[in-house]
Every structure is written in C-alpha cells, then in structure tokens.
C-alpha cells in the first residue's frame, strides 16, 4: 500500500498543469502495448488521478507482425476530476509502426502529440502496413499534429549495451523505453514500474536490468531532447477518501463472486467453457481455490450450465459464464434451471454478434436473448453492471436476488467493461451486505415435505440432498403447485406459469427506485444500461452544463424494471435510448410503457464517443435557455 503523495521526478523543463490527459499507445501485438498501458494506468492511479482505460486487442492471437490486423492498442484517460470514460479524442498518441499510425491517428485531436518509433518505419514496415510511402513524411500528418520521431530501437540498444546486454534483449524492451518517455511527458513516477520489473523479472536479472535501463533511458530522452519543450502534470483527483486499487471488469466480477460466496457462507462452484471475453473470469477465479472456489472447465457450455444446476441442487453457490454463442447453447438448460427454481448466476460477457461475430469487440446485443432466448414462458431476472469496478457489486446483487427468489439470474456484462479498468475503492468487509440463506432442516413432523411451497417472495425452499425427510424429485416437466409432483393439470399449468412470472415481477418491490442524474423532468431523458454508462453520463453532464434540460437514467435492473420507471419516462418530453445494438432496451421500454422512445444505435464493435452522444442529445432538445 502506498499513499497518494507521489514525488514527481524532477524535470528541469517547464511543467504545464492540465486537468486530464487521454493517451493511446499503439503498436504491434508483439510490442507489449497492453503491458505499457497497464503500467501507465496503475502509475496514474497511484498518483491519485481518476483513470479509465480501454484496451483494444487484435482478433488474432498474434496476427502477422506489422500488419494492420496485428495492431494492439491501449487507451487511458487520467484526470484530476472524476471521469467515466477512457476519453474520446486523444491528446497524445504513441505509435510503434506505420500500421499503428494509420489505424489510430484519426482519433488524435488536431495539434495533439504524436510520438512515433522512427525505427519501426522502414520500407518493410510500409509494405506490411500496406502504406505507399512513409506516413511520417506526409504533410497532413506533420501539419495536423506535433510529430516527434524517436529512434526508440537504436536508443534502447544503446542504453542496454552500456550495461553489457545484447541488442536482441534490447529489442524486446523498447516498450519500456517508450514507457519512460511517456512517464517523463506526463510527470509520472518511475517507482511503481521499477517495482513491477523487480517482481516480474526478478529471476532473470539481465532482463530486469535491460528493462530498467530502457525505462530510464526513455525518461532521460524526454528530459534531454529538444523535441519536447514542456511536460504535463495532472493533479490528484478529489476522490472519496479510502484505499483504492485499479480494477479490471472481469477481475471485479470474479472478486464479487468470491465476496458473495463469503457473504452467504457458501463455497463457490464455477462451471464454464472458455470463450472470449469471459475466459478471464475463469482464470481469475481458479487462482482462489483457498476461498473454497471450485472451477470446472466443462467439455462445452451445455455441460457447464448443467453442472452449475447440479451444484445448485447440492446447495452450493453455483455460477456459470460465457459470451453470446455460448449463452445460446445454455438456453435449454437455463430453462430447466428456471423450472427447478434453484438459485444460480449466469454471466454473459457480451461481444460483437451475431454468430461468431466480432469476438474481441464489444456490443450490447444479447439483452433480448437474455430475456427471451429460451422456449416457453421462462422469465428470469436480468441485471447489468455499469463500469469495470461496478462488476463487483453487481455480482453480489445477482447472487442476492437468486437466493431470495430461487431463480437463475442473468448478469449482462460486456467486452468493454470486462477489459476496461478504473479505480476501485476497497470496501470494508463488514460494510458489505450479508446474504442470508436458510435451508430447511429435518422434517420429522410427519407432514409430507412441500418443495414448491412459496414464501413471501414467492421463492420455494432450498432443501438440499443429505437432509433427512426432505427427499424430493425435481424436473423439467410442469410441476404441481406446492408438491412439485409432475402435473398435466391445465389450471395448475396456468397457475405455475403465472407464479413464475409474478416471482420475477415482484422483485421490483424490493429493488431501489430508478435514480435520475439531473432534474426529474425536462426536455429529454437519456436512458442507458450496461457499459455505456460512462459515456452517457459524461455527455448528459456536458449538455446540462451547456444549459440543456436533459437528465440521465441508467438502468441496472433490466428485468424487472424499477417500479417508478414508467412515470419517470413520462415526465420528459422525449426519451433517447442510446445502445450498442439495434434498439433492444428501446423495444422493451416501448412495449412496457408505450412511450415513443428514440433510439441511437451503434453496432461497430466500439463504445460510444461522448461527442457523438452530445451531438445526438442536441438534435433532440431545444437550444439551451440562458441559465
């Protein structure tokens, strides 16, 4: 643990104070851009900034070196104010080769800093990137941006050879040179990264030494070269006091599940089959076997779902996760889980669809699948986290609802949240909400046990094998009210169908009312859900600042909706529903509330830019009133 007071390295150049910086690091997927980005993020977080990140991987494991398909990017915004997105346009862009330049430069703001690894711009590289001539010489580049060419490879070699290390090692650590330079530029401390190198490469001292040398050389280059007239400084943000750490979405989700397991006094069974972008939850959870976590990598998603149900029947906290195509495969078994009325959590880390789609890209297009992707009337609750760190709370909430109602709960994350990161204020353990679970115990009063008798939440008793006298059989055929026996009785089927629906609908009585950011009525209400929270909130906030009567409602609960939602929608002249799909929430809102919601729909595998949302909002509201 460190305190937020960090000593800035002493630069002799002019330091300009700015409120925030958005920078993207882009290079070949072999260039270590993700590592670089993660380090910059952590360092900035440790410096007390608010941070938000957006990594963008190529679809291939290692696409051919130097090609556009192989470009790996990492964007981070750090700021002295609370921020909710990794930023739209870049203040600075670092590119390691021509492919990275041509695929990223359009996002750099006019006049932004463009740092290029000159050594990565050879004829061979132009060919690989399919560019005609050296883009670093293009007028449009030189005119539009503050281009700084750095022969990183050569400089790294030089730095490293000083320590008697080979150029081969050197080439592998030019990302640390770039890092050092970036650190200089933004007045970041080298310390956290020095510690990281120590931890990671401690066992290979020559590699560690090379990386340290490269890092310092990069910093020194910034300090020395005339190319940089000044560096920038972003002061610490005014965050709520507390201890923070940087959290990625999938990690937060995994930790949330572990926490939920502790909070409910249950060990955790996680049955899954690897799939992008959900696999990292497995990778994280399986590290925590000492928490009583059992991970089961099944032969497929069907097996994963069914094993989850089996574990739930046994009385364990049972969770499964996948992404679109895998969720489709789970549909039949999920219907059984719903019919058995057992508690479990099904996580969908959504990706670009349909079919295999765009596996490494983000999208919100599985909402209707979550609600309706099963045969018959098969209602289940659906909730969605709003940001990487929020995955933690949402996981706990999912398990809470599941156990209260005895029902599988669908948690809809997405690729953007899953791989993004932000500071997380570490909670004090005893402030976390306990989840109380009661299993019925021995039934010696001679009355037959009623496994489908219902409590005030319409949940049924979770009687688990091993309990004397409570032996019962569950199954996917319609069951008789209370007894749970197979029943073909027409009226019973109607009753049970309505009860299952009512059970989910009743959740609305217990969840919080929908909150609004802004006035409770006005010209426009922006309604969003899931990972678009940050972009929508930022856009609405800016429009409010510009004097527009616009508010924001971000839904965590998608089924059922908060009980005041309908009224809220009707309190605004217009409702805009921006989604990274073709209008799935919009369709639900229209149907439920008969409100003519307007959609703004983007399916490009990318999150919303704040600017495009502002533009949308502005087309739907009257010109601002002077305030």
């Amino acid at each position: 643990m460190t305190t937020r007071k960090i000593q800035f390295m002493t630069t002799t150049k002019h330091v300009k104070s700015v409120s925030g910086i958005t920078v993207r690091l882009a290079g070949d997927s072999g260039d270590g851009m993700q590592l670089l980005g993660t380090q910059l993020t952590n360092t900035s977080a440790l410096a007390g900034n608010d941070v938000a990140t957006f990594p963008d991987f190529p679809a291939e494991i290692r696409a051919p070196r130097g090609t556009r398909a192989g470009v790996s990017g990492f964007q981070v915004q750090f700021a002295k104010e609370e921020i909710f997105t990794p930023g739209d346009t870049l203040d600075a862009l670092v590119v390691m080769n021509p492919a990275a330049l041509v695929t990223n430069v359009q996002d750099l703001r006019k006049g932004g800093i463009l740092i290029a690894n000159e050594d990565g711009f050879t004829e061979k590289d132009f060919k690989l990137a399919k560019v005609e001539a050296n883009p670093l010489e293009a007028t449009v580049i030189n005119d539009s941006y503050r281009l700084i060419k750095v022969p990183m490879t050569q400089l790294t070699r030089a730095a490293v050879s000083e320590h008697g290390l080979s150029p081969k090692i050197a080439d592998r650590c030019k990302n640390f040179f770039a890092m050092g330079l970036v650190y200089w530029l933004f007045g970041r401390s080298l310390d956290p990264t020095l510690r990281f190198i120590e931890n990671k490469f401690g066992k290979k001292p020559d590699v560690a030494a090379a990386n340290v040398a490269a890092l310092r050389a990069g910093w020194a280059f910034g300090e020395t070269t005339e190319a940089f007239g000044e560096s920038y400084q972003v002061e610490a943000a005014e965050l709520t006091p507390g201890t923070y750490r940087n959290m990625m979405g999938n990690q937060a989700l995994a930790w949330g599940l572990v926490a939920a397991s502790k909070l409910s006094g249950k060990e955790l069974f996680y049955g899954t089959y690897p799939i992008t972008p959900a696999s990292d939850i497995l990778h994280e959870l399986t590290k925590h076997k000492n928490f009583g976590v059992r991970t089961f990598q099944a032969e497929d998603e069907i097996s994963a779902m069914c094993a989850t149900i089996g574990a739930a029947f046994g009385g364990t906290m049972a969770v499964t996760a996948s992404s679109g195509p895998g969720i489709a495969l789970k549909a039949e078994a999920m219907g059984l889980g719903m019919m058995l009325e057992l508690p479990m959590v099904v996580v969908n880390v959504q990706r670009g669809g349909p079919s295999t789609g765009l596996p490494t890209k983000t999208e919100q297009s599985d909402l209707l699948q979550a609600l309706f992707g099963r045969n018959g009337e098969s209602p289940i609750p659906v909730i969605a986290p709003q940001s990487p760190a929020d995955c933690f709370n949402t996981a706990i909430e999912a398990w809470r609802i599941a156990t209260e109602c005895m029902v599988p709960v669908m948690l809809l994350s997405d690729g953007y949240i899953a791989n993004g990161s932000e500071p997380w204020k570490i909670p004090t353990i005893d402030t976390l909400p306990k989840i109380e679970i009661k299993h019925p115990v021995d039934n010696n009063d001679g009355e037959p046990f009623l496994p489908y008798l219902r409590n005030e939440n319409l949940g049924r008793p979770w009687a688990i094998p091993g309990t004397e006298g409570l032996m019962h059989r569950v199954g996917g055929l319609e069951k008789e009210h209370e007894t749970g026996n197979v029943s073909y009785d027409p009226a019973n089927h109607q009753l049970m169908t309505e009860t299952r629906a009512a059970k989910v609908a009743k959740i609305a009585e217990r969840i919080p009312e929908q909150e609004v950011f802004g006035e409770p009525s006005g010209d426009l209400l922006v309604v969003s859900w899931g990972g678009t929270y940050g972009a929508c909130l930022t856009a609405v906030r800016r429009c409010q600042q510009a004097g527009h009567r616009v508010s924001h409602a971000h839904l965590r609960y998608l089924n059922p909706f908060p009980r005041n939602l309908g009224e809220l929608l009707k309190s605004f002249d217009r409702v805009l529903v921006p989604e990274l799909n073709m209008g799935q929430l919009r369709m639900l809102l229209r149907s439920e509330f008969l409100v003519d919601c307007i959609g703004y729909n983007k399916v490009q595998g990318k999150p919303f830019a704040v600017s495009e949302l502002i533009q949308q909002i502005e087309t739907h509201v009257p010109s601002p009133v002077a305030v």
Partner: protein
Amino acid sequence: MSLPVLKAADFASDQDVRWCPGCGDYSILAQMKKVLPELGVPREKIVFVSGIGCSSRFPYYMNTYGMHSIHGRAPTFATGLKSTRPDLMVWVITGDGDALSIGGNHFIHVLRRNLDINIVLFNNRIYGLTKGQYSPTSTEGQVTKSTPMGSIDHPLSPLSVALAAEATFVARSLDAHVKHLGAVLKRASEHKGTSLVEVYQNCNVFNDGAMAYAQEKKQRADNVVELEHGKPLVFGKNNEKAIRLVGTHLEIVERSEVPDDDLLIHDEKDPNPSIQMMLARMRYPEMPEPIGVLRDVDNVATYDEQINAQVELAKETRGEGDLDKLFHAGDTWVVD
C-alpha cells in the same frame, strides 16, 4: 451409530409408476430397490439424476433425492453435484438415445474424468418415449418409424466407447436376469470412480424381443457368456463352449477339444483394457455377448476427489481465503 434397516419398499416414492405394462424398466427398478438397502447408505444421501426418455422417469419412483433433467445431459448435472457434494451417492439413469445420441459427449467426458458416480444405461435399442425411432444402438437395417427402408448407421457399442475413454468400471447385465442384474448393480455401487452398467432392456412396445437371444432363458446359454473374474469364459447349455484368444482375435472353441489352460481367463482388473475391448466387441450372432463386469480398476484418482483435494491443498498452503487480504494485495493507494 446404527442405521435403521431399510427395506426395498422404503425406497419407493409415492408416485404411480407409468411405464407400459411389461416394460423391462420395471425389473431394473425392482432390482435397484432391492440393492440399495444392502448398501447401508441413508436415503437422503442418495441422488438419482436422469435425462429424458422412458428410462429417465426412474428418479420419480425412488424415495431419494432426484432430478429428472434434460435430454442427454444427466452426467453433467451429476458432475456439478458430486464435485461439490462428494458425500452423496449419485446414480445416473439414462437410455441408449439419451446417453449415446444427444449425450454421447458428456458420456465420454464423465468417464474419462472418472467422477465417482454410477451410470445405469437402459439399452432397448430404440427411442421409447418418442414412440419408436431408431437409436445409436439399433442394428443395421432395422426398420423403425424413422427408417422405413432400414437403418444405415453402424451401431455404437457403449462398452467400447467407455473403454476407449479409459472407463474404470464397465459392466453389462439383462433386465430379465434379475439376480445377475442385482449383483452387477451392487458391484457398480462399490466401485470408486465412474461405473457404467449397460442393461439390455426390453421395450415391448416398440422393439419387442430385440435382445431375445440374450434375454430369453432358453437362448441365453448359447448367446451369452457370464464373465467371472479369474475364471475362463465358458458358455453353452452344458458349459460346453468357451472362448480362446488367438493372436489378437477371440474365437469360440468346444471345450472338449481344447485344454482348459488354453482358454481365456477373465481379468477385470487388468489395467490395460485391450482384452476388455475385445470382449466389448463380441456381438451376436457371430459371438456370444458378455455380461457381468468387464473391467473394474480401482487405483485411478476420481474427479471429485481431486477437485476437492486442490481446494484443501490451497487452503492449507495459502490459508483459508481472506477477502480483506485479497482486496489489499498488490498496488493500492490511499486517498484521504
């Protein structure tokens, strides 16, 4: 602590049994109810998990915990259950379509993982519940509702597939041979690891007599060889025939013509399943079909044992998980 002594009837649930009159399923149910009290496991510690099919209605008739799940997936529910609740005795009840058609993959995987459960596969070589389509064990040329010109699929042998997946307990019995069936079910229950028992089961409505050559007492002696560990494979009305291994082929011999020492001696404990695979491939009418335990190998780690051992080991070496420690590990910073 002495357990209450239970009788077969104590294992009957209050639900009406709803198989067709004359169905072979009744006999298997009866044997199960007879065997369970002998095991001394309390009813509440037993779970029956099934898929979908006539056979899969089995759990409803047992006064234990039970799950009638979805088609083909019973082994996967059992995996989640047994991995987290190794204290339970878990039986999987499945049919030839359930286990080998839609469920073939889970069948292989549960066997290779050697989860400590018992699988009873009711093989009637037909889809009963959906009223008479052919199944993966139907014979070539079989005429059914879905194969009016005869089946063109080459049938699967559940025992062969199981052995290829390195199953540790593989057996076969007959619904009509109730004593044998009871004994085999008991053996299965005693095995540590996945036990597979294939039971030839007569569907008297859609595939009546399909295995009469083995089921009918009169024909059985000539068409079935009862395996016994350490004993030669002899059969025939007067035990006059036997099996001999020649190179890598099995052949039928007259015992009068061959010295006993030349006969194949059954070794269910052989860790190398080669010969057991040959047994599994013995098919009527060319060969008598083996019943009894083909393989019973005990020293293979089970899945549930190992998944729990890793958790225990992790707890021992790293200490019982502590949320606070987890949250604060690595880089953190304080805002005040």
